[in-house]
């Protein structure tokens, strides 16, 4: 009954408001927003003022920027050099922690990893920084050993359905396009289900991917029930002898209860005859920080995620959060997106991932 809790509060806020404004207890900026009269007649002086302040800003800004760019860029490679060249001293652990945190591995997982590394290093009495680094890499690779096979055949003989889920803007639709390409290349008959009926033009986007990847498409109207679109798709797939259905869903933030319930329903309905859900792939953007763990936990809880697709790994972000996701939740990363081309989707390789995590070592 949150509404009931909310109501008195809103009223207090409202009735307090007058008091605040008159007694000027409000922080000064409260009334500083653009008032209508300012907007109607832009003062001629505004422009010159703005360009002046901008010039000042940009001068100090560029200088600041120059130093800072080099600072951030050098951070990783300097740390690596330090570690490789140095001996095993107390600082080395801090440097390794920094490296992992900078790659978005997260504080908690970083601490655990470094504790285990320390034990191993002491055990084997390693003495050089380079050896420690290699030990770290092999330790991380070992921790990433997991079954990553993708199921294209339904165990119970239904139409295999893959569900793509994730928060907004991670690249679900694009990943579907790429997966479609991959399996049509292998000679499978693939059908795309436009289950994102919420975002404007999401179905059009998927339609273009269907064209590009020689896949079929089933779509509903905007605002339609995503479950019914996906169910229609599985019926159509069964009728047309399709080998694999890739179902798109609308992006949703994992803390929205109703949207997560909707997704759970989509999964239940997709699992009905003739369909059979074989993979539920959580798409995660490599730039995602610690929130990725929260996303994975909530989606796993709602729809029983079977694997992760890590997208946009071709950028400067390292995607270290998936290491934490694998370790803490046991969700395997199955696919990695490396670009905008339709064949830029590859199987996850722990060795390459760990290597890339540490940049150009």
């Amino acid at each position: 009954m949150v509404a009931l809790a909310l109501l008195p509060w809103a009223h207090r806020a409202w009735s307090e408001r007058d008091g605040r404004v008159t007694t000027k207890k409000t922080p000064p900026n409260h009334d500083e927003g653009l008032s209508c009269s300012d907007l109607e007649k832009p003062k001629p002086s505004d422009d010159t003022q703005r360009s002046e302040t901008q010039d000042q800003q940009s001068e100090s800004g560029t200088e600041l920027l120059r130093t800072r760019i080099s600072k951030a860029r050098d951070l990783v490679s300097n740390r690596l050099k330090d570690i490789r060249g140095g001996s095993v001293d107390p600082q080395i652990w801090e440097k390794i922690e920094e490296l992992l945190i900078l790659a978005d591995v997260g504080v908690h997982t970083t601490m655990e990893t470094v504790t285990r590394l320390r034990a191993a290093v002491e055990d084997q009495s390693l003495s050089e920084g380079g050896m420690v680094l290699d030990q770290l890499k092999s330790q991380m690779v070992t921790e990433l050993s997991r079954d990553r096979a993708l199921q294209t055949v339904a165990p119970k003989g239904g139409v295999p359905i893959w569900l793509f889920v994730g928060v907004n803007g991670v690249g679900k639709t694009t990943s579907i396009g790429k997966v479609a390409r991959r399996y049509t290349d292998e000679g499978l008959k693939v059908l795309l289900a436009a289950g994102d009926t919420f975002r404007a033009a999401a179905a059009e986007q998927l339609e273009q991917w269907a064209l590009a990847s020689d896949a079929e498409l089933v779509r509903g109207s905007e605002g339609a029930d995503p479950s019914s679109v996906i169910y229609d798709a599985s019926e159509a797939a069964s009728a047309r002898g399709v080998d694999l259905v890739l179902a798109d869903t609308a992006g949703r933030l994992h803390n929205k209860v109703n949207l997560m319930e909707e997704l759970a329903k989509v999964r239940r309905v997709a699992d009905r005859e003739p369909g059979e859900v074989c993979e539920v792939l959580l798409v995660i953007d490599a730039t995602t920080g610690q929130n990725g763990l929260s996303q994975a936990r909530e989606f796993a809880h709602a729809v029983n995620v079977t694997g992760v697709v890590l997208t946009k790994l071709d950028g400067s972000a390292k995607g270290g959060i998936v290491f934490a996701i694998e370790k803490e939740l046991g969700l395997p990363v199955k696919l990695v997106g490396l670009g905008e081309g339709d064949r830029d989707l590859v199987d996850f390789d722990p060795d390459l991932f760990v290597e890339a995590l540490f940049g150009n070592d």
Partner: protein, 479 residues
């Protein structure tokens, strides 16, 4: 396992607050915790280091004010440092004297540029402007369709040209001048900072339209890479400000701190929901306050102002305080509160709301149910719920698709709330002395009497959160 930054700071600072005097050890412990909290919130590593150094120095330094306890001092310093990083003042838009005022949107793929472009257009409209949108994202399939669909909802025209992004932008500028549009918003394709060709393209767009404002759209969930992204875009385009999106998620948004600190540009707007109106100017000092556990009171008040029709609200408030508040008023208020945006985001802005309530799943459908129950009542029942007996209750339940139990629960809670509000009226009035004491006694009893649903009125609600840090009596809500 993770707590929000706010919760963490609450915890740390509460520990400090209990002490009379701070030792160097205390400060080390506090800064260590703050460091972890900031890192878990995705604040960039080097930004955290700077923050911690400054905080520690100032805590250890001589500028300990005599009027504050050491605990208050740390709260104050942390708050000031956070506010410094976040930028101090809100961003102001100044319109070009030679319209149109050109706004260029830039960012990584999936950060929310297209949606933000439409939301920004809506915002300019609400400011009395006539925006024109340019769809210069020719990269992503159907991006133009997406912008057109959104633009239709807010009745803003879209210009595009299939030849290329730069041509579209240039053409949009001409179109805006010809059709008398005074704001031009150019939506561009998402691009990675390592993609030189696309970074050159956006530099070309920028040269073609000479934007008055270049906004970088940043996802609040971004990790350590936010700094790198902002740096490269800033080096290419000379950014003016940042638009922070997806703040309605549970990410702690440390990226905002990082970006501000590293490129020195403020967050101008923040997007807090999927609806086009869930978009607002960003108030940096409020974000700092939110992190410190004071809740985003000011934003909420402004939202309330926007939505509540003043007279109606005042009349309802009056009735509420007099105890003659009816179920009609109640439903009306519910609807208005919902207009303010997503319930969970409103709840998260409120100070003093116990953590359990914030974490509780806010089920919007529950409110639908409440509404349905009230709407299934006769006018008489709505004004005087005491007339509802067993048979009426059964009828209402049937009409609203609920159970008689749910109906009586609602009525019970409504009556309790009405009583509680009547009590509050006494507390809130200026004669605080004698009268409020007696009322307080009464209210206290009721508080304890209320059972599982006592979320309604956390004790703290009697203490209106103060926004002035100096006035802060350090009973921060939420404890």
């Amino acid at each position: 396992m993770f707590q929000s930054l706010t919760d963490r700071f609450d915890g740390i600072l509460n520990r400090l607050r209990g002490k009379g005097r701070l030792t160097e050890n205390d400060i080390s412990e506090a800064t260590r915790e703050i460091r972890l909290a900031l890192l878990e919130a995705d604040v960039h590593f080097s930004v955290v280091q700077g923050f911690i150094e400054r905080t520690r120095e100032r805590c250890l330094g001589a500028d300990v004010s005599e009027s504050l306890t050491p605990g208050q001092q740390v709260v104050k310093i942390v708050n000031e440092e956070l506010t410094t990083i976040l930028g101090g003042e809100s961003f102001q838009v100044t319109y070009s004297s030679k319209p149109p005022t050109v706004v260029l949107m830039a960012g990584l793929q999936g950060s929310g540029k297209t949606t933000s472009s439409a939301k920004l257009a809506r915002w300019f409209k609400s400011q009395g402007r006539n925006p024109l949108l340019v769809a210069a994202d020719l990269q992503r399939p159907a991006a133009v369709d997406q912008l057109q669909t959104l633009a239709q909802q807010i009745e803003v025209p879209v210009f595009t040209a299939p030849e290329g992004a730069i041509e579209a932008a240039r053409g949009g500028l001409v179109e805006a001048r010809q059709t008398g549009r005074d704001v031009l918003i150019v939506d561009t394709a998402g691009r990675l900072t390592v993609d030189d060709a696309l970074m050159n393209e956006i530099a070309g767009i920028s040269d073609a339209v000479e934007p008055d404002y270049t906004f970088l759209v940043v996802d609040a969930m971004t990790g350590q890479d936010a700094v790198n992204t902002a740096e490269v875009f800033h080096a290419t385009l000379e950014l003016d400000a940042v638009i922070l999106t997806k703040l309605d998620g549970d990410a702690r948004g440390g990226a905002a701190l990082s970006v501000k600190e590293v490129v020195g540009r403020p967050v101008a707007f923040a997007s807090t929901g999927e609806k086009l109106q869930d978009f607002d100017q960003f108030h940096p000092e409020r974000m700092a306050e939110r992190i410190l556990g004071m809740g985003d009171v000011l934003t909420l008040i402004e939202k309330a102002e926007e939505v509540f029709e003043q007279e109606a609200a005042e009349a309802a408030t009056q009735r509420l305080l007099e105890g003659t508040f009816t179920l009609n008023d109640f439903v009306e208020q519910l609807r208005q509160v919902r207009q303010m945006g997503d319930l969970s985001s409103i709840v998260s802005m409120m100070p003093g709301v116990p953590k359990e309530v914030k974490d509780a799943d806010v089920d919007e459908r529950e409110i639908d149910r409440v509404e349905a129950i009230v709407l299934s009542m006769t006018p008489e029942e709505r004004i005087n719920p005491d007339v509802v007996d067993g048979s009426r209750r059964a009828r209402i339940a049937k009409g609203s698709g609920t159970t008689p139990n749910q109906v009586s629960n609602l009525l019970k809670q409504f009556k309790e709330m009405r009583k509680a509000m009547k009590g509050l009226a006494g507390l809130g009035s200026k004669s605080k002395g004698r009268k409020s004491k007696t009322k307080k006694g009464k209210k206290g009893k009721k508080n304890s009497a209320r059972g599982g649903n006592s979320r309604i009125q956390p004790k703290e609600t009697t203490a209106i959160p103060k926004l002035d840090i100096d006035d802060l009596d350090l009973t921060l809500p939420g404890r």
